[in-house]
């Protein structure tokens, strides 16, 4: 997941990848409800537990972006 995330950030200027070795950050374990790794959180709203293939990961990213877009339409916020 970490490798895929960094490749996504590499190809898209709209994507940022943060690889977080979480054992040193107890606050994040609680905040993001981490009970196992890898755990991927997209825009702090959409979580993927465990490892998934590239095509599934990309579809999760697309779905998370759609959800974020719908939320912004409701709230009137801007995305970039």
């Amino acid at each position: 997941m970490a490798g895929l995330a960094t490749q996504m950030a590499f190809v898209s200027p709209n994507v940022r990848a943060q690889i977080i070795e979480v054992s040193g950050y107890q606050d994040l374990i609680g905040a993001y409800q981490i009970q196992g790794v890898p755990k991927t959180v997209i825009n702090d709203r959409y979580a993927i537990e465990g490892s998934v293939p590239e095509e599934v990961f990309v579809q999760h990213v697309r779905r998370a972006a759609e959800l974020a877009g719908e939320e912004m339409e409701r709230t009137g916020a801007t995305g970039l």
Partner: protein, 180 residues
């Protein structure tokens, strides 16, 4: 290819967090970093793959020998040693070091809100951040990220690239991992 994995050996006879911090300050943590064989493997890999300059920007606590409450960073020393060793393996890899506390504006601009952090970037690539010490399996991810940036190519499929190219929103991916 054999996976490179940094193994951390710790010589800690202490029990409290404060004691551990003091132990780190006294350089009592021994870290087995790259063996000569692994260093040569990486050097050869970088020579074959890197075509562009890559910068590793380390944000840490400034390597102070002082124990400063609130500025503890048990993993900073190890992270610094990792970027130093990687920087020594290719002329195309440069290392910048920033003190998170005295250079907070630079940290904020880079999206760094905790330490240690390693930002991998080039002239036209950013948004790649590693938090915590990238030891264990994540060392491989860091190395591969350096190669991707330095090569200017990655292994994602055309279909994945098309989906990502169509994104018109900022996407923040946080991938939580552990060393093992």
């Amino acid at each position: 290819m054999r996976e490179l994995k940094l193994e951390l050996r710790q010589d800690r006879a202490t029990s409290t967090q404060l004691d551990r911090q003091i132990a780190v300050s006294r350089n009592r943590v021994r870290v087995a970093l790259l063996s000569a064989q692994d260093a040569q493997l990486l050097r050869d890999g970088f020579e074959a793959d890197l075509r562009n300059d890559v910068t590793l920007r380390l944000f840490g606590n400034g390597s102070s020998p002082l124990y400063v409450p609130g500025r503890e960073c048990p993993a900073c020393e190890e992270a610094e040693r990792i970027v130093d060793e990687l920087g020594g393996l290719s002329d195309l890899i440069s290392v910048e070091k920033h003190n998170f506390f005295s250079d907070s504006e630079t940290a904020i601009a880079a999206g760094v809100d905790r330490i240690p952090a390693i930002v991998v970037e080039s002239d036209n690539v950013d948004g790649l951040l590693f938090f915590g010490s990238p030891s264990g399996h994540e060392f491989t991810t860091l190395v591969e990220t350096v190669k991707t940036v330095g090569r200017g190519e990655c292994g994602l499929t055309e279909e994945s690239r098309d989906v990502l190219a169509a994104l018109d929103l900022a996407i923040d991916l946080k991938v939580f991992v552990t060393p093992t």
